[in-house]
């Protein structure tokens, strides 16, 4: 019988992160799945000088950028969709504290795919011809930039295309709906780029909204897109993507999305946010108190909750999932 990989959040951050690392979060959806609570713990443990690999900006990157913990970032999209611009990230970029390298939403997962496959480069048929190819925040002195997405010739047709640099982040913290204690995971909603990210990263830690018995994985093996053999640790943390949403589990906390983004627009607001919502809890129970138990109940009443129905019989009680 393989060992359980259940671990507390503070221990996972202490063991698998360090200053200056290349840190990726999944799914890195701007209002949906993302390992946001992992980012809060990165701040609690005062990690610095992070190089963030985020398919899209999320409230996590917004927060890590606002506090100055991230100095380099690579993204396909840097807003919060209908919630607007990401004020914390925006402030960090505009002030020059953070170098943001732009790609597109297809380029980022293709680069993860290239990293996962060990390819030297990925053929680029998008992003070429635009300033995404010609301008680089990491290499600003070269116009037009020839290192970021260099031109290459398709050996079959002679067409000039581009070459994407593959990504192999040091760590991927991946938010999933359901995990078993061994590290098998089921994601409800779009998986976005979590499949590629889980194979591209040097190490993977899962942050699961709920823990299920392995029998669940045996019932739905086609849905297990992240298998245990590539996972280092499993953290159980309800409302892990809060204030963003998680299909089948909880809706977006619209009020907190707005409050958080407004707070991150200024240094003083960011300090207050960190005090109240990064250092404002000790454990899962006080985290849920911080969100508000009534809010948790309301958000759990999501119209998507039927998506969880086939899996409910395998849900493990919280006492059984403490690391």
């Amino acid at each position: 019988m393989p060992d359980s990989k259940l671990m507390t959040l503070p221990e996972a951050v202490a063991r698998f992160t360090w200053d200056g690392m290349q840190y990726a979060s999944g799914a890195a959806l701007p209002v949906g799945s993302d390992a946001i609570v992992f980012g809060r713990e990165l701040l609690r443990q005062q990690r610095r000088d992070l190089h963030a690999i985020f398919h899209c900006n999320t409230q996590q990157l917004n927060l890590l950028a606002a506090t100055g913990a991230v100095t380099r970032a690579e993204c396909g999209f840097s807003g919060l969709e209908v919630f607007g611009f990401a004020n914390g990230l925006r402030r960090a970029v505009e002030s020059g504290r953070l170098a943001l390298e732009d790609y597109s939403n297809l380029a980022m997962p293709l680069r993860l795919l290239g990293g996962a496959l060990g390819w030297p480069f990925v053929p680029a048929t998008v992003n070429i011809g635009s300033d995404i190819q010609f301008r680089s925040a990491f290499d600003p002195a070269q116009p037009p930039c020839r290192e970021k997405i260099p031109s290459v010739v398709d050996p079959f047709t002679g067409r000039t295309i581009g070459a994407f640099r593959p990504l192999t982040p040091d760590l991927a913290a991946i938010h999933v709906t359901l995990a078993d204690p061994l590290g098998n995971a089921i994601m409800l909603g779009t998986e976005w780029s979590r499949f590629e990210l889980s194979r591209a990263a040097k190490k993977v830690v899962l942050i699961a909204d709920a823990i299920v018995d392995t029998g669940c994985m045996r019932q739905f093996p086609n849905l297990v897109r992240i298998p245990d053999i590539i996972v280092e640790a499993v953290v159980h943390w309800p409302f892990a993507a809060w204030p963003q949403g998680s299909p089948g589990m909880y809706d977006i906390d619209e009020a907190h999305m707005t409050l958080m983004n407004q707070a991150l627009a200024t240094e003083a607001g960011t300090d207050a946010y960190v005090r109240d919502f990064v250092h404002g809890y000790r454990d899962v129970a006080s985290y849920l108190d911080m969100i508000g138990r009534e809010t948790c109940t309301r958000l759990s009443g999501t119209a998507t909750s039927f998506l969880l129905d086939p899996f409910r019989q395998w849900l493990l009680p919280a006492e059984g999932t403490a690391a």
Binding site: R90, D102, S104, L106, G129, S193, T302
Partner: protein, 264 residues
């Protein structure tokens, strides 16, 4: 239907939706683009094969304007969830997708789109942070490269309609004429820029955008005054039909929370 009965944003969404034909494979961006696309599905294109770049298929929004391409409001009645490489790669960058709708902070005379940042003047030789950082390209660059037709939705204001965008986030016709051919994109480029005042389409040779139609509440003069280049007017330019009762009813069913009715 008189001009007082609908907003400019509603007219823009309806005019955009009219560009979508039944049965097409279509990808909708977030926000207004999604409302325009699902309006088309609710009104005249029931068999449109719609997806979001999140890889969410078969869904119609529930409970109001979705907050994003992945949000629960679009996950409630989906028939398939896949991933980004699937939606933006297999179905869009490959050249299979018929039509995509994107937004813009700035658009220029050749339909190039900037959603990355606003600089105080030209960027210059050395790249530098923008004065105002925007959202970046997202999936719009992939749609602009791969979709057979791209529709650009943008509020018609002088600061948005510029002679040349400072930064090309998503390619239109680049420097015009056949400049796109250098890159061999499978997509045909922007078919129309649909604004809060009218519709612009590319001229056949230069690919410069010219005025195709104006809305009942606007005029050629108002559109020219809000466009940052010497806008040509097509010889057959005309007023676009006003929304029908059926169109407005369909749009408002999709726009349940009235996002398009708030601003005018």
């Amino acid at each position: 239907m008189s001009a007082q009965d609908y907003t400019r944003q509603e007219m823009m969404a309806i005019a955009t939706g009219r560009e979508i034909r039944d049965g097409e494979l279509a990808i909708f961006g977030v926000g207004l683009a999604m409302l325009a696309g699902y309006f088309a599905q609710a009104h005249h294109a029931p068999r449109v094969r719609a997806m979001t770049e999140g890889g969410v298929y078969g869904a119609t929004p529930v409970g109001g304007l979705p907050w994003g391409i992945e949000c629960n409001r679009i996950s409630t009645n989906a028939t398939s969830f896949t991933n980004a490489i699937d939606a933006l790669g297999y179905l869009v960058a490959s050249g299979r997708c018929d039509v995509g709708i994107i937004g813009a902070a700035q658009v220029d005379r050749f339909g190039n789109v900037n959603t990355t940042g606003i600089w105080d003047g030209p960027i210059g030789e050395t790249y530098r942070p923008p004065k105002t950082r925007l959202t970046g390209a997202g999936g719009a660059n992939d749609i602009a490269c791969g979709a057979k037709r791209t529709l650009i939705m943008v509020a018609h204001e002088p600061k948005r309609f510029v002679d040349k965008v400072t930064y090309i986030s998503s390619p239109g016709y680049l420097e015009g004429s056949d400049a796109r051919a250098r890159y061999g994109f499978p997509g045909g480029g922007p078919a129309a820029i649909i604004t809060t005042l009218g519709i612009l389409r590319p001229l056949p040779d230069t690919r410069e955008f010219a005025l195709d139609s104006w809305f009942a509440f606007s005029s050629i003069a108002e559109i020219k005054a809000n466009t940052g280049w010497a806008l040509e007017v097509s010889p057959d330019a005309r007023v676009a039909p006003e929304p029908t009762d059926a169109e407005l009813a369909a749009l408002r069913r999709v726009d349940e929370t009235g996002a398009l009715r708030k601003k005018n």
